[in-house]
Amino acid sequence: MSSLVHSASGPEGQGPIGAAPPVMLTSDQTEHAATIRQFVEGDTPWDRRLMKWSRWVNPILVKETRQALKSKQFSFTLILLTIVVLAWSILAIVSMIPSIYYASNGAPLLIGYAMILIVPALIIIPQASFRSMASELEDGTFETLSLSLLSPRHIMLGKLSVSALQLMIYVSVIAPCIALTYLLRGVTLDVIAMTLLILISCSLTLSTLAISVASFSKNRVQQVFFSILLLGAQVIASLAVGGVLSAIVAYGTVSWEGWISFGVFLLAAILYCWLFLRCGGCSIGVVSENRSTPIRVPLLTIGLVISMLGGLLAIRNGDRNSMSSMIAIVLNLLFVHWGVAGSIMMGEQGIIPARARRTLPSSLLARLFLTWLNPGAGPGYLFVLLSFAGSAITLVLSCQLLIPLTNTDVGLHTMAYAIALAGYLALYLGIVRLICMAALRRLQTGRLVTALTICLVLVISAVVLTCSINLAENNYQRLTYDWYCFPNLFWTLAELFPDTISQTWNSAEFLSSIIALLFCASMVAFINIVLTAKDVVILRIETPKRVAMERQRLRGIRIRDDEELDEGDVLK
């Protein structure tokens, strides 16, 4: 056993607290201490600088970089990439001789490099991210990791930064070759920049998706399932990116519309990455935490961005008829966004843990107006309806005010379309919530997926049922829209779509179906709102004084003497 020589200083800053045993150091261990110092501080001045900077770097990045530098997979991929890039360079240049001296030959070479880079950027790196996260959960190392001070957000961002670093290394390998394509002419700088930006943004988006999906897969079966899904998405993304990059390079320049389109794509990618990371973080986070509200914030932001960008795009398009179609398309996007998010939310349990109740609004007024951000299916139902209605009304009215559509029936149709979509959301999500309340009372795990499945089954059943009845009524010869077809949302919306509005619009059957839809939706919404009333009366509970003071201390706020604990405040 080692003997005690001197005492350790206490942990610095936000470090852990508690009993701090003294440092144990024997005189014969000076050599080992020097080795540790060398490890912690580094050998050379550069090492020392890097080690000093690494204190601000995510520990996961430091760990995984150390692991990757020793791993065969990374070395193999890097060497293979270098060989392939060199081989392509030599092959392409040899095949271009002698025209290489006078013709613009940069474009085909750049396409080749982009195709080579697609493999590590869009296939290998996201798969490595998936494996990295999944193996943490599978091997049980995540448990020890979760006990540290690293939050789920830190862990996921750490994994993502590892992907970014790997990508940076791969891009730096190929960078001199890309510079060569510029020297060979035929490729402008903006094309090169766009090519790299698209590759980098797609790679990071896929890596984010991979890390988030991996955090959901808690067992081997789920891992295999999600891994296959991810691989499918990667292959599709690789083909799409390959096509887009080939087109851009072949076109030879990037127009300002191209940059705007890329900006929109980047914005969407960032927003969805934010959402994925939040979902993944909640999946591996503390169970007693409020895991719903943090997800609703990016959902709401995405909804608002869709309606804003859609509105701008619709207004920019001067033609009134195509503008109303554009609004309808944006409304459809909003409907899908809120429909999927809402149906998942309907599986949430209405139980708000004590920890989450500490963050509830305290006043009645705030409870009434902010309840829809609370966890649970009831507030979630209100949240989805209000968000969709808010986005849709803002979109339609702003377009209506800026470019009046009322001189034709188009404006009215657009409004009717938005109301019908809201009706479907209210109807289907309301039914899903009622089914979940009745049938999934005891189900603890898999509730969200079950709720989504119930919603899909309901929608498909409605489609099959209405079409079957309609066909039977018409002697299995044709489909004719009738009032009872209102549960079939695809059919009704197709009939109502502003650009292709058919003669059924003015028919009694069609109006009856819309009235039936709105009546049913109102009834279902009413029942759900009444059932949600109990969520408004849930009161905020006070944070125990000791907990509040400890949190203040961790935030670096000095505690005044008069705030010290009274007896019995240790755990209220």
């Binding site: 056993m1 080692s2 350790a8 200083s9 206490g10 942990p11 610095e12 800053g13 936000q14 470090g15 852990p16 607290i17 508690g18 009993a19 701090a20 045993p21 003294p22 440092v23 144990m24 150091l25 261990q29 080992h32 080795t35 540790i36 110092r37 490890f39 501080e41 204190r55 520990p59 430091v62 760990k63 150390r66 692991q67 020793k70 091997d139 049980g140 190392t141 448990e143 020890t144 979760s146 006990l147 540290s148 001070l149 690293l150 503390v286 169970v287 007693s288 004590a354 920890r355 500490r358 000791r546 907990v547 400890e550 949190r551 201390r553 961790l554 670096g556 010290e564 240790v570 755990l571």
Partner: protein, 323 residues
């Protein structure tokens, strides 16, 4: 700068670990069924029970890795349900089975966890030095983890659990699979940590070891805590009697007959002049008995009272039933 001093205002007289009617159900299986106990600062609490008794589940609940179905567990005044993040700052957990990261050596592994616990600069170096030295891993600091023996891995795992100097250490079967020397060294490490003020909850199948290092033990079976306290306390509560062995030089039969007449003596067994019996009473009563025997002119060459061991207590309390 954070005022670290207020962190320790939790009164040292309050329990560091408190299980309050904790239940944990997995379907119909009651893995933990109404367990309550308290462990105070600097104590070593041994958790004993057969396989499937609920030890690991209880420890996982205390480590915030599982949520109780009912009840609550408190570590240093913070609830594992409501404030797991605060509990985790005070806690080091060494699980029964553990896996390591590939392509890492010992010092890199510990360095990662030191960083993950927010230790920076000199504090990190001090923590690494202390941990490597304490666990005896300093000589193999740069050895890859995959090449470590079972004992060394256990040491590394203990090092990871204590890298941030936690106030509470939870060790699930730490001596599992270790050779005798490694076990003794591990026991010494645990005792050393307890002396330094760390509260330790340790489970083990090796009861003799627990008896030597634990201030208190809890015997658990089928998810229920059957007894808690020091081994001596449990023994007193269970029976209050002691086995006495006695060797007479002659007159063994007469001595047996004489002892049979005593009210606090029972279950006498004789093998020629060697007698053993159960004696109901404390050490003063034993001295009185010995004096009485000598006064009766019986020649005694040996008189020994044997306390029940932890194994005896364990076997007496548990039924060996599994769920």
């Amino acid at each position: 700068m954070v005022d670290v001093s207020v962190a320790n205002y939790h009164e040292s007289t309050d329990p560091m670990i408190e299980m309050r009617r904790v239940h944990r159900f997995f379907g119909k299986t009651k893995a933990v069924n109404d367990i309550s106990f308290e462990v105070y600062r600097g104590q070593v609490f041994g958790f004993i029970g057969p396989n499937g008794a609920g030890k690991t589940t209880s420890m996982r609940i205390l480590s915030t890795l599982e949520l109780p179905s009912y009840g609550d567990a408190i570590v240093d005044g913070f609830s594992v349900i409501n404030d797991p993040d605060l509990v985790r700052r005070r806690l080091g957990f060494m699980p029964d089975g553990f896996s390591m990261y590939p392509n890492m050596n010992c010092v890199e592994y510990l360095d990662f966890f030191a960083r993950a616990y927010g230790l920076l600069g000199k504090d990190r170096m001090a923590a690494l030095r202390r941990t490597l030295s304490f666990t005896g891993l300093d000589k193999i600091a740069s050895k890859p983890i995959t090449g470590l023996s079972k004992g060394m891995r256990q040491r590394l795992c203990l090092g990871r659990a204590m890298i941030h100097s936690p106030a509470v250490l939870i060790l699930d079967e730490p001596a599992n699979g270790l050779d005798p020397r490694a076990r003794i060294e591990l026991r010494q490490m645990i005792q050393q940590l307890a002396v330094e003020g760390t509260t330790i909850l340790v489970s083990s199948h090796i009861l003799t070891e627990l008896a030597e290092m634990c201030d208190q033990v809890g015997i658990v079976e089928r998810g229920q805590l059957l007894a808690t306290g020091s081994v001596a306390e449990i023994q007193r509560r269970l029976q209050g009697s002691t086995w006495v062995q006695l060797v007479a030089i002659r007159q063994g039969e007469a001595l047996e007959a004489w002892l049979a007449g005593k009210s606090n003596v029972s279950q006498i067994a004789r093998n020629e002049n060697k007698l053993s019996f159960q004696f109901d009473g404390g050490s003063e009563d034993q001295a009185e008995l010995l004096k009485a025997i000598v006064n009766e002119d019986f020649l005694i060459s040996e008189f020994a009272a044997r306390q029940e061991t932890l194994e005896d207590v364990f076997m007496k309390i548990t039924t060996g039933a599994v769920q």
